[in-house]
């Protein structure tokens, strides 16, 4: 068994080493794959905050992922067509600058998470799972019918957006940028879990009655966790759109909400590095199994099933020998 701290360091180091090796070996596509892992992990870190710290099983996180993606798509679309974006009261021009796009993506998904959270947190348990799913579906169908931004076809952005001081078209530069964002989010998660806020939430999740008795308001704590969670997943959506230079309603689909959840659980719920390990394994499976047979999805399903049934605590839990996070 490996101590969890050491394991966490190894996972991060491995994620950094693969693209560096690929750079040396001139395998640019491997860098692209690693970037995909990083961005999916970032989306899952967002969900992990809601799931792991807040105990909120959201099956609608694709909504935030899609909002982030569309924030990027819409701003960049207006910039590349030199048209103004009409906001009703005033118009703004589009932009190709990543920092601005990230800000808009984060704010927009925070706002959405606030509204969805306010309404959804009136329910709990299975009802919460289903109402978040319903909100995700609303966004999905809205995007499909949104003819102005491509409807089901989505929007193509011909050139990746820019970041001051970097050439984002070079795969390793873009990877570095995403990796840095992921590290920040992981740091935030770790700090949040150990902060008074995180401890209070943990108490609210495990013994709600007692938490209330000592003056904590569980609903407000949960809402805050949900908003932070949505913001991070939204930022991941903006990066994902930039990786593919493309956004479409599939970013909103419930399958995607399911996939992010798979990443979290694969890696180990509530563990800081769980989403990273989960994303790495998922992308690797998708990539390698796909080459073996046309029916590779059967094997993917079987592997997922085995992990749920026999490796509770995910990969991180299995390798570190601790089934529960924080034992």
């Amino acid at each position: 068994m490996i101590p969890e701290r050491l394991l966490n360091a190894l996972i991060l180091a491995g994620l950094l080493a693969v693209p560096l090796w690929a750079l040396a070996a001139d395998e640019p596509f491997t860098i692209t794959l690693a970037t995909r892992v990083v961005i999916l992990a970032l989306a899952a870190v967002g969900l992990n905050i809601a799931l792991g710290i807040g105990g909120l099983v959201s099956l609608g996180h694709a909504a935030f992922f899609g909002i982030g993606g569309y924030a990027m798509g819409i701003l960049a679309h207006h910039a590349q067509t030199y048209t103004a974006l009409d906001l009703g009261l005033f118009t703004v021009s589009g932009t190709k600058s990543m920092p601005v796009i990230w800000l808009v993506a984060t704010l927009a998904s925070m706002l959405a998470a606030l509204l969805i959270g306010l309404l959804s947190l009136r329910t709990s348990g299975v009802y919460f799972i289903m109402i978040t799913l319903a909100f995700g579906q609303m966004f999905y169908y809205f995007a499909i019918g949104w003819a102005e931004y491509g409807g089901e076809d989505g929007l193509s952005i011909y050139l990746r957006n820019s970041f001051p001081g970097l050439n984002t078209l070079v795969p390793i530069h873009f990877f570095g940028l995403c990796f840095a964002v992921l590290c920040l989010a992981l740091f935030l998660h770790a700090r949040l879990a150990a902060s008074p806020f995180g401890l209070a939430l943990n108490a609210a999740r495990q013994v709600p009655g007692r938490a209330e008795a000592v003056g904590l308001d569980p609903k407000r704590l949960k809402l805050l966790a949900f908003v932070v969670s949505g913001a991070i997943t939204g930022l991941a959506g903006a990066l994902f759109a930039d990786l593919n230079r493309f956004v479409s309603p599939t970013m909103f689909s419930w399958h995607f909400s399911g996939e992010i959840m798979v990443l979290v659980i694969l890696g180990g719920t509530a563990r800081v590095m769980g989403p990273v390990a989960g994303a790495a394994l998922y992308v690797a499976l998708e990539h390698w199994l796909g080459g073996l047979t046309d029916y590779w999805i059967i094997f993917l399903g079987a592997i997922l099933l085995l992990i749920v049934l026999f490796a509770r605590g995910g990969i991180v839990g299995m390798l570190s020998g601790r089934r529960q996070a924080g034992d």
Partner: protein, 306 residues
């Protein structure tokens, strides 16, 4: 908009709702008794449709196809209950969602492996095809009337089963207190397998009945699954009565929304915009309905407090 058209649309909404009930009844039963969220319920619907298409194709008999659908779905349900689901009862909802999501992947691609990538053929039997005249001059397909009848019959049968039989008493007891009925000597794991197989059979029956007027293809269960979840959440999870009311509400909202929203919008905007915008809003209508119900009643219409 004439009276005939409105009446016909209401019948359509009813028929859709009744079929949704067959799906939702199994889901809600399984949740009520075992506390399990089963995303793979849509796969059992697909299994039923494929079994019916295969057997009806080979024998030429629609009724044999229905029998095959019931049997195949019940057997598939019993097998996954014993092999997989049984290990999930004590797990949290998260693990259940993930494991049954994995089952969807296995079922869908497995079916494609077994039956190929093209849709299968399943048709309405001759003795149920074509329209009939209803009072008021409505021309309505006989098969859809038969679907309404079959769905209502199953609903009544289910009610009798749960309220009037020994098994029903065990099921209701299982919903309330698991330890107690185990202590009273009921074989709880056999009861669970039975309930799961029953839910699966209902899903399979719905798949076969609907398969005759739709496309029998891989992935056909997923849209229905999501609708069925909406239904049981609106009705209150675990409540058969709630599932019935919820199914009719969803069926009517979805059918009538798709027709009347564009018509309403035509009063305020041009026809072309009205039909695209109306279609978008209509596709969101049931989700809006569900959010409103949950915001007003967080455990659904007939749900007990969570």
């Amino acid at each position: 908009m004439s009276f005939i058209l409105v009446a016909e649309q209401i019948l359509n909404g009813l028929q859709f709702g009744v079929m949704l009930f067959l799906m939702a009844a199994g889901l809600t039963l399984i949740f009520g008794v075992m506390g399990l969220i089963n995303l793979a319920h849509g796969s059992l619907y697909m299994v039923g449709a494929f079994a019916a298409a295969a057997v009806a194709g080979a024998t030429g008999s629609f009724l044999l196809g229905l029998v095959a659908a019931l049997t195949a779905a019940a057997v598939a349900g019993a097998i996954i209950e014993v092999a997989v689901i049984r290990r999930l009862y004590k797990a949290d909802h998260l693990d259940q969602v993930l494991a049954t999501f994995a089952l969807i992947l296995i079922f869908s691609e497995g079916t494609r492996w077994a039956f190929g990538s093209f849709p299968l053929f399943l048709d309405i039997p001759d003795w149920l095809s074509g329209p009939v005249s209803l009072p008021g001059g409505i021309q309505y397909p006989l098969y859809r009337l038969a679907l309404i009848g079959a769905g209502l019959a199953v609903a009544a049968g289910l009610w009798l089963l749960i309220e009037r039989t020994r098994i029903g008493i065990q099921i209701r007891a299982g919903e309330n207190d698991r330890e107690m009925i185990a202590a009273l000597g009921v074989d709880i794991s056999r009861l669970y397998t039975l309930v799961f197989a029953l839910g699966a059979a209902l899903a399979g029956l719905a798949g076969a009945l609907v398969g005759a007027i739709q496309s029998v293809q891989v992935g056909m269960g997923e849209p229905v699954l999501i609708l069925a979840f909406v239904v049981i959440v609106i009705g209150g999870i675990g409540s058969i009565k709630g599932a019935f009311v919820g199914a009719l509400l969803v069926g009517l909202t979805d059918t009538l929304g798709g027709i009347f929203l564009p018509e309403l919008l035509k009063l305020v905007t041009d026809p072309s915009t009205a039909s695209t915008v109306g279609a978008s809003v209509a596709s969101m209508a049931i989700y809006i309905l569900m959010s409103i119900v949950l915001i007003l009643r967080p455990t659904g219409l007939f749900g007990s407090t969570a």
